[in-house]
C-alpha cells in the first residue's frame, strides 16, 4: 500500500533571468529511525523518506538522500538558477512505498 502526506513549498512565483532563487520545502513524515523499541521491547521497523528530487522543466537540479538521523517533518532549503519559465516538480520517496509530490510554477522575466 502506498503512503503519501502533506507538503509545503515556499519559493518566489517570479524571478529575473539568471537570478538565484531560494526554495524551501517541508514534508509531513514521522521519520521512524528503526532503532527504537516499543514499550513491549519490540523493535519498531524503520519508516523514513529515502530520497528527495527536484526537477526544473524535467531537468534534475537538486537531489538529497535522507537517513535515519534526520528529524521528523524534514525541511530542506536549497537554491537554483532561474533560467526559464516553467514548472518545478518535487518528489519524495521512502520506505513502505511512500511517495509524495508537489509542483510549483515559476515565471522568469
Amino acid at each position: 500500500m502506498s503512503k503519501t502526506s502533506r507538503t509545503l513549498v515556499t519559493m518566489p512565483a517570479t524571478a529575473r533571468k539568471d537570478e538565484i532563487i531560494e526554495i524551501r520545502i517541508i514534508v509531513q513524515h514521522d521519520m521512524e529511525t528503526g532503532f527504537r523499541h516499543s514499550e513491549q521491547g519490540v523493535r519498531i521497523e524503520r519508516d523514513i523518506i529515502r530520497e528527495f528530487i527536484c526537477t526544473y522543466n524535467g531537468v534534475e537540479v537538486f537531489r538529497a538522500d535522507l537517513h535515519p538521523a534526520i528529524a521528523a517533518n524534514p525541511m530542506i532549503t536549497f537554491t537554483t538558477l532561474a533560467t526559464e519559465s516553467g514548472t518545478l516538480e518535487f518528489n519524495w520517496k521512502g520506505d513502505n512505498d511512500y511517495a509524495s509530490s508537489a509542483t510549483s510554477k515559476l515565471t522568469v522575466t
Binding site: 502526506s5 502533506r6 509545503l8 515556499t10 524551501r24 517541508i26 509531513q28 514521522d30 521528523a72 525541511m75
Partner: protein, 259 residues
Amino acid sequence: MIVKFLKQLVFLFALLSALGVSFADPTGQDRQSSYVLMSGQTQAMQNDPAQNPATFWVLDGQTLWQTPAGKSNKSCAQCHGQAEQSMKGVAASFPRLVDNKLLNLEAQINQCRTERQQAAPFAHESKDSLSIAAYVATQSKGMPITIVESPALDKHLQAGRQLFEQRMGQLNLSCAQCHAERSGLKLAGNVIPQAHPTGYPIYRLEWQTVGSLERRLRNCMTGVRAEPYMFDSREIVDLELYLMWRARGMLVETPAVRP
C-alpha cells in the same frame, strides 16, 4: 544598634535587587511568552505557516472538521459552521466549566464527539485529537486569553494555584519555585521560562511532533521525579486552568513552535 541593623538590611535589599534576584511571580506587563527566549530561527519557524511543521496538524484538523463521523454521520462543520467564525476566541477561554465539570479543549471536543456525533472519543495525544485541537485553537491566534472568573470556577482556580505552589517528586520542587520565583534565571544552560501556556498545542522540536499542554505538564512532573497526574484528571485540568488564568490577557500563539 537598631539603626545599624536597618542600614545593613537596606544594603542587603539593594544588593539583591542590583543582582536582579527576584522572588515574585512576574505579573502584568512583566510577563513574557517563552517565544521571546527562542532563537531567531525557531521564531521564524513559528512565524511563517509555510515553515511551521504544526501547519500539517492544522490542515489535518481542517479536514477532520469537515468529515462526518459517528452514528450521527455529522461533521463538526454541520453544527458549528465555519470554524473561522464559530471557533474564534473559543480556545482562549478554556478550560471551562461545562455542566459543573471543568473541561479542557481536548475534553470538550471529545464530549462533542461522543454525545453529539456519537463517535468514539479521540485517544489522548493521538494525531486526530491534536489536529482538531490545533485547528480550533488556531482560530484564536492573536486573541487575549480570557478566563471568566465565577464563584463556581474559583475553587478550581484555588486548587490549581495550590498545586502550582506544592512541592512534589523526589526533587521536592514546586512549579512555582522554578517558573515563578526563578524564571529568567538559568537551568542547565537554558533560561527558565515563566510557563505561560500561550501556544498549545505546540510543535516541540524535542518531541518531533505536536503535543498538548497536558503532555508538557506530565513531562515536567517526570522531570522532578514525581508521578505525573493522569490525562483528564481533576488535578491536571485545575493546573491548566490556573496557568491559563495566570496568563490571562496574553495573546494566543497557536500553533506555536518550542525547542
